[in-house]
């Protein structure tokens, strides 16, 4: 699924937000997440995408990635780099929660016009066997290193996250396809919202990851993420 503009960053049911830019500290991140949730509900209703009733930061709810909401990881490609690529992020359950099902994936905040979102997939990884986790890799769908026993790739919409954050052998992974875009400002996603269903209730977690194409928009949104 290829989308070419910020308005169509809604992936598999989630919606782009136009939350105001904020500083990269925990208090602002909380306000952004809360405002994003409110905006999400409103715009999702208008545009017919899934709604989320409870948005929280990583480490506060049952679906998590780093279990920490107060730090961030950025991956930024130069504007002249040749994609596509896949970014990978761990998804796991905590608090003894049951398996959850991903409904949609989208940005906490989208900036700029110099990027393209190619889609989202899910993958179950058995650590130590076959392919290891992906931070970023060439190609989308990802070109995995073990062609003899590739892990099965599934659409993110409907992907079941069953690995626990404490698990040492199982690792569930969200994979987002990425490429440069036609705009000249660079940009990307500042934070990743994952909306999921658990025991009949819908929640959204904001993960502290930034996916960027370097340019003025990326430099402004995440200073330093593209280096000096």
């Amino acid at each position: 699924m290829r989308v070419g503009s910020r308005k169509r960053d809604c992936l598999l049911g989630s919606e782009d937000m136009t939350a105001k830019a904020g500083r990269r500290n925990a208090r602002v991140a909380a306000r952004v997440a809360a405002a994003s949730a409110a905006t999400l509900c409103t715009m999702a209703t208008i545009l017919g995408c899934s709604t989320s009733t409870r948005a929280y930061l990583d480490g506060h709810g049952d679906l998590a990635s780093t279990e920490q909401h107060s730090h961030y990881v950025s991956g930024a490609f130069p504007p002249n780099a040749k994609g596509p690529w896949t970014f990978g992020y761990r998804l796991c359950t905590r608090n003894h929660a049951p398996a959850v099902t991903v409904i949609s994936v989208g940005p906490t905040k989208a900036v700029g016009d110099g990027y393209r979102v190619l889609g989202a997939l899910g993958r179950h990884v058995t650590l130590g066997v076959g392919d290891g986790p992906i931070g970023s890799i060439d190609g989308y769908p990802p070109i995995l290193g073990n062609p003899q026993h590739p892990d099965a790739l599934a659409p993110a919409n409907g992907f079941t996250v069953s690995a626990r954050c404490s698990d040492q052998t199982k690792y569930d992974e969200l994979l987002v396809g990425w490429d440069t875009g036609s705009g000249h400002a660079g940009g990307g996603w500042v934070g990743i919202n994952v909306t999921y269903r658990e025991n009949g209730h819908v929640h959204t977690v904001s993960l502290p990851y930034n996916m960027l194409i370097c340019g003025p928009a990326a430099d402004h949104a995440v200073p330093g993420a593209c280096g000096d």
């Binding site: 780093t66 920490q68 107060s70 730090h71 950025s74 780099a81 761990r90 931070g135 970023s136 330093g224």
Partner: protein, 405 residues
């Protein structure tokens, strides 16, 4: 009948006597009030066990278990001693001394478990730092041994909203969040040695022959590793930057009067250094300079032990120093093509290094560093070619240490 009557009277008198004796015995054997623990072993010098902190007053400083040198849990007691704050310690010159403040103590149970409270409200000026932090030493003792563990805690400031939101939480939420394993490793019989061990042969000052308290005898400037960049493949560089007001937790050490030093906890200091190194290829550590001090603890002229701990950040930095690989194992693949991977923290796994304080030339061992990455502390890797990034204790996005494999 008279005999039986006498017998009945005798039985009543005997019963009365038994009751009376029982009451007397009960009074004699009545345990002290719960708020006033009664130590089985006599406390070591400089510990004031007249201080009592009730189960519902003061703050729960730490809980944990007491062990002996063989790793077995032992019964004993634990006191909380408050040291002066960083500002006071900075002002000390060799020869200056102070007496630590006992702010609470407790006996362990039979299995060595303890939960010790401290009354911080009684601390006079000079103990609490401007950010509210108090540096304390948990001093434990059994019949024959003593042991210390240093830590920095942040009790509520007087008049502030309580840290805990309920009485139950106040009773159970310790200021030091992790349970403490406290080892009583120093023989109490070793106190009293008058001759300084060789590595302490040239102090800047020697405590007087009738010392009593804790005396600063010398200071050093020490380099501590607060970050690193570890790259291995062609086309990859790493750099590290940090801005002011990040905190560093630095190891402390203690030695008996005639023994060697061993690690005994750590204390936290703020660093106002701004660091911004350029991208490097290779394996480098980034270091800041800290002033460390050595103190001699005495009581009535007898040397008890020596303490080594950080005094203050000097603001000193130096260019990155080459370092070795630590062979991290939890790895993710990373694309090339000029990818910039960066991580900024004000949470997550701290950067931690067991021998990060480079002080072995002075005391025989290096001490630990634990850096709470600040909101302005960032490590950046740049990949021209596909690569693998690995974390020490978990995957790179959350690991304490990160290296390219």
């Amino acid at each position: 009948m008279v005999h039986r009557s006498k017998f009945r009277i005798l039985r009543r008198r005997t019963a009365s006597a038994a009751v009376t004796i029982g009451v007397v015995i009960g009074l004699i054997c009545q345990p002290a009030a719960a708020a006033t623990p009664h130590a089985a072993a006599s406390p070591p010098p400089l510990v004031d066990t007249s201080v009592t902190v009730g189960s519902s007053s003061g703050e729960l400083v730490a809980d944990g278990t007491l062990f002996n040198n063989d790793g077995q849990a032992v019964k004993g007691a634990v006191a909380v001693l408050a040291w002066p704050n960083e500002q006071f310690l900075k002002s000390m010159k060799p020869g200056d001394s102070f007496v630590p403040r006992t702010i609470g103590w407790i006996e362990t149970d039979q299995r060595g478990n303890f939960a010790v409270r401290g009354d911080f409200s009684q601390l006079p000026p000079g103990y609490r730092a401007s950010n509210g932090q108090v540096d304390v030493v948990l001093r434990a003792w059994s019949d024959d041994f003593v042991g210390d563990q240093s830590m920095s805690v942040s009790p509520p400031t007087p008049g502030s909203i309580p840290l805990a939101s309920s009485a139950t939480e106040k009773a159970t939420k310790a200021l030091h969040s992790d349970p403490v394993r406290l080892t009583v490793r120093q023989s109490r019989a070793s106190a009293g040695a008058q001759v300084l061990p060789s590595e302490k042969a040239t102090p800047d000052a020697t405590a007087s022959s009738f010392c009593n308290g804790i005396t600063l005898i010398r200071t050093w400037r020490v380099w501590s590793i607060v970050g690193e960049g570890q790259t291995d493949r062609s086309g990859t560089t790493a750099d590290f930057s940090t801005e002011s007001s990040h905190s560093v937790t630095l190891g402390a050490a203690v030695a008996s009067a005639n023994g060697g030093f061993s690690a005994s906890g750590s204390i936290t200091r703020s660093s106002n250094v701004t660091l911004n190194w350029q991208p490097q290829h290779g394996r480098f550590s980034y270091q800041i300079e800290t002033q460390y001090g050595e103190w001699q603890e005495c009581s009535l002229g007898a040397v008890l032990q020596y303490d080594v701990r950080a005094i203050t950040d000097t603001g000193g930095t130096r260019p990155p120093i080459a370092t070795g690989s630590f062979r991290a194992s939890q790895c993710t693949q990373e694309a090339g093509g000029g990818l910039t991977w960066s991580r900024g923290d004000y949470g997550g796994s701290h950067f931690g290094l067991s021998g990060g304080v480079q002080i072995a030339s002075e005391i025989g061992i290096n001490l630990s560093v634990d850096t709470a990455w600040s909101r302005n502390s960032t490590v950046i890797f740049r990949f021209q070619n596909p690569s693998v990034l690995c974390g020490s204790n978990t995957f790179p996005q959350n690991a304490s240490r990160i290296e390219e494999a």
